[in-house]
């Protein structure tokens, strides 16, 4: 880096190396190390301006402004939704799905068991009918 470019850099961005363009920072720091006398006066001058700039107080955000801005989010169409509530919704959905599965299983089991018990009952009825017929035949045949 030339002395001319170094001075231009300091004049524009100030004495704080963190504010210098990234692609020139290393070269500028190398220049400072190599020619500290040439850099010193310009750095001191720039540092004084930096200090003055830092004296400007940063405005503070009032609670009223903060609240207005947050309220404006819903006015802008953003639906307020809480992250925690979303997990709650998912849990409720999972529980609901569980109940639905259990209910379906109950219905299927019910249908299966009903047909099973009905078959037994029908078999008993047939045997009972057969026994009745058997009694009748004995009576007829004497």
């Amino acid at each position: 880096m030339t002395a001319e470019r170094f001075l231009a850099l300091i004049a524009a961005y100030g004495a704080d190396a963190r504010r210098w363009p990234v692609d020139e920072r290393a070269a500028a720091e190398a220049f400072m190390a190599a020619q500290p006398e040439a850099a010193r006066a310009a750095l001191a001058e720039a540092d004084a301006v930096d200090a003055l700039l830092h004296a400007s107080a940063t405005p503070r955000v009032s609670m009223a402004l903060r609240d207005r801005v947050i309220a404006s989010a819903s006015e802008a169409g953003l639906k307020a939704r809480r992250e925690g509530r979303r997990w709650l919704d998912r849990l409720a959905l999972a529980l609901g799905a569980g109940w639905a599965v259990a209910a379906c299983a109950g219905v299927i089991a019910g249908v299966f068991m009903t047909s099973h018990f009905t078959a037994d009952a029908q078999a008993d009825a047939v045997l009972y009918q057969a026994s009745l017929l058997g009694v009748d035949d004995t009576e007829v045949l004497g």
Binding site: A12, V49, D50, V61, R66, S72, A76, A80, R81
Partner: protein, 187 residues
């Protein structure tokens, strides 16, 4: 075109989904920046609040359709904030009378101590008296800490032109506040 890494990307996505925690985080992260930008560009606390609020309102509208990778959200928001400031500065010029508002240079006074608030007020007054573009360059680079490339792009000038504005602005401030330098006589 290379995708641009954006530290706000995830937050913007969540804001677009209406996540209230993300909305609050966005306010905490960006509202002070917008307020500082507008305050230093306009030099008026009430107008600065209006601009900051309007900038965030536009952010809420933009968030659901934000396309990551094309630009940094912070740069886009600065563009919005700057445009709002330009509008107000233009309106001021249009309604300016033959007697422009006075911005007196308080100057050095022997009975004024070097309280931080005093120094700050004098610096703010000196900033306000800078030509608009010089002030904008200093606000974007020094206070908003944007890179020179981001600031130049926002101001629609080359990096060389930005550096020229910065140098002239800093030199003007140094001259305007010469009496406040530690080596100045009587300070």
């Amino acid at each position: 075109m290379a995708l641009i890494a954006d530290p706000d990307e995830d937050l913007v996505r969540r804001v677009g989904q209406g996540d209230s925690a993300a909305i609050q985080a966005m306010v905490a992260r960006k509202l002070p920046r917008m307020l500082a930008l507008a305050q230093r560009m306009l030099g008026d606390a009430v107008e600065a609040e209006d601009v900051a609020q309007e900038a965030l309102l536009r952010a809420w509208k933009q968030a659901p359709r934000w396309q990551p990778g094309k630009a940094k959200f912070d740069t886009w928001l600065h563009r919005v904030g700057l445009n709002l400031c330009y509008d107000r500065l233009r309106r001021r010029r249009e309604i300016a009378t033959d007697m422009p508002p006075e911005r007196p240079d308080e100057g050095a006074a022997p009975d004024r101590g070097l309280l931080a608030a005093d120094v700050g007020r004098r610096v703010d007054a000196a900033l306000a008296r800078l030509p608009e573009r010089q002030r904008e360059a200093i606000v974007l680079c020094h206070y908003q800490e944007l890179t020179n490339i981001e600031a130049a792009a926002l101001m629609e000038v080359s990096v060389e032109a930005l550096e020229s504005l910065l140098s002239r602005g800093r030199r003007a401030l140094r001259l305007a506040l010469a009496d406040m330098r530690p080596d100045a006589e009587g300070v």
